[in-house]
C-alpha cells in the first residue's frame, strides 16, 4: 500500500487553506481524513490520480465544503474560552486576590456614593479603558496574522480566540445608555445602599473579566495552547 508523500501532504494543507480553513489544528484533522481516504482508494487501485481522488473525497463534505467543520470548531473553542474565563474568576475569589477584589469594590462603592459625578467618571474611564484595550488586542492580532503570513507561525484557532478578546470587550460598549444611567445615579438620592452595592459588585466583576481577557489569559497563552494542542509537541519530531 502506498502512502502519501510529504509534498502531497503539503498539497492537502494548501487545499484546505484554499477552501477557507485558516486554522492549522482544523486543517490537520482534515488533511489526515483526506489522506486516509486517498490511501484507501490506492489500496484498491494504485494508479488513480491524486488530484482526482482529492476532489472526489472533498465532494463528500457536501455543498458547504469544510464550512460546517470550521464553524463547529469555532463554537467549541469559544465555549472553551468562556470556561477558562470562568475558572479564572473563581481563582480570583480566593485568597489572596479576593482582598484585591474587595479593595476594588470598596473603591467603586466610594466613587459612586461619595463623589458628585462619581458614576459618570467611572463609566467614562471604563469606556476609555475598553477602547485602549481594543487597540491593544488589534495590535496583538495584527502581529499574529503577520507572523502566520510570513510562515513563521501556524495559526491555531484557540490562539486567535484568546487574542481576539477585543471582540468580546466590544460587547461592554453596547450599553452606551449606561451613560444615562450613570447620570441618573449621580443625580438621584433615592437609591438605597443595597442598590449601590449590587451595582458595585457587577461593575467590579466586569473589571475582573476584562482583566482576565486582556492580561491573564494572553499571558498564559503558551501553556493553554500546549494543553489543548498536544500536536504542538509532536510537530518538531
Amino acid at each position: 500500500m502506498s502512502n502519501l508523500s510529504v509534498d502531497q501532504i503539503e498539497r492537502l494543507y494548501e487545499f484546505t487553506s484554499q477552501h477557507y480553513v485558516e486554522y492549522y489544528d482544523v486543517q490537520t484533522e482534515l488533511v489526515d481524513h483526506l489522506a486516509s481516504a486517498i490511501e484507501d482508494h490506492w489500496q484498491e487501485n494504485p494508479h488513480q490520480d491524486f488530484e482526482v481522488l482529492l476532489q472526489k473525497e472533498f465532494k463528500k463534505f457536501g455543498v458547504f465544503g469544510f464550512m460546517n467543520v470550521v464553524e463547529e470548531r469555532q463554537k467549541v473553542m469559544q465555549k472553551k474560552y468562556f470556561k477558562l474565563i470562568g475558572k479564572e474568576i473563581l481563582k480570583y475569589l480566593k485568597l489572596p486576590t479576593i482582598i484585591l477584589f474587595i479593595i476594588t469594590m470598596w473603591m467603586v462603592f466610594t466613587f459612586i456614593t461619595q463623589l458628585k459625578y462619581g458614576t459618570t467618571i467611572l463609566f467614562f474611564s471604563f469606556i476609555v479603558a475598553i477602547i485602549f484595550l481594543l487597540i491593544i488586542t488589534s495590535i496583538r492580532l495584527f502581529k499574529l496574522k503577520k507572523a502566520v503570513k510570513n510562515g513563521r507561525k501556524k495559526l491555531y484557532l484557540l490562539e486567535k480566540t484568546l487574542l481576539n478578546s477585543g471582540q468580546f470587550c466590544g460587547l461592554f460598549l453596547i450599553p452606551v445608555h449606561l451613560f444615562n444611567i450613570s447620570d441618573y445615579l449621580d443625580n438621584t438620592e433615592n437609591f438605597g445602599n443595597l442598590f449601590h452595592l449590587s451595582f458595585t459588585l457587577i461593575f467590579t466583576i466586569a473589571l475582573v473579566v476584562l482583566h482576565i481577557m486582556i492580561n491573564v489569559l494572553p499571558s498564559k497563552k503558551e501553556s493553554i495552547l500546549k494543553k489543548t494542542y498536544p500536536e504542538m509537541n509532536l510537530e518538531n519530531m
Partner: protein
C-alpha cells in the same frame, strides 16, 4: 441508506458506542467502521461527522490524543468518564426509541 435524516439524530450515539468498543478512533476510521458494520447500508457524511465529534469533545464526553502516523498528524478521540456514562444513557434512549417506532411501524396484533 439513502435517507440520512433517519439516523442524523443518532449520530453522536453511534460515535459514543463505537468509541466505547474501540478505545480510540480517528475520524476516517469511524466512517469506515460504520460502513463495515452496516455492510455499506449506512454512510456517515464527513460534513456531519466532524461537527458531531467536536461537539461531543466540547461537552466533555471525548478527549483527544495526537499521534504522528507516516508523515502526518492523526487526531484520535477517546471517551472520557463522563462520555462512558453518556453512552449508557444514550443507548438506553435509542433502544426505547427503536421499540416505540417498532410499535408504530409493526404493531403487535392485540388479543383483545
Amino acid at each position: 441508506m439513502s435517507n440520512s435524516k433517519l439516523y442524523k439524530g443518532s449520530l453522536s450515539t453511534i460515535i459514543l458506542k463505537l468509541l466505547a468498543e474501540n478505545s480510540k478512533m480517528y475520524g476516517y476510521e469511524i466512517t469506515q467502521k460504520v460502513k463495515e458494520l452496516t455492510q455499506g447500508e449506512l454512510t456517515i457524511t464527513e460534513g456531519a461527522l466532524y461537527p458531531a465529534l467536536h461537539k461531543l469533545e466540547a461537552d466533555g464526553f471525548l478527549e483527544v490524543e495526537m499521534q504522528k502516523v507516516d508523515n502526518r498528524l492523526r487526531k484520535y478521540y477517546k471517551l472520557t468518564q463522563a462520555g462512558t456514562q453518556e453512552k449508557v444513557n444514550r443507548i438506553e434512549e435509542l433502544e426505547r426509541f427503536i421499540e416505540t417506532i417498532q410499535g408504530i411501524v409493526n404493531p403487535k396484533p392485540s388479543l383483545g
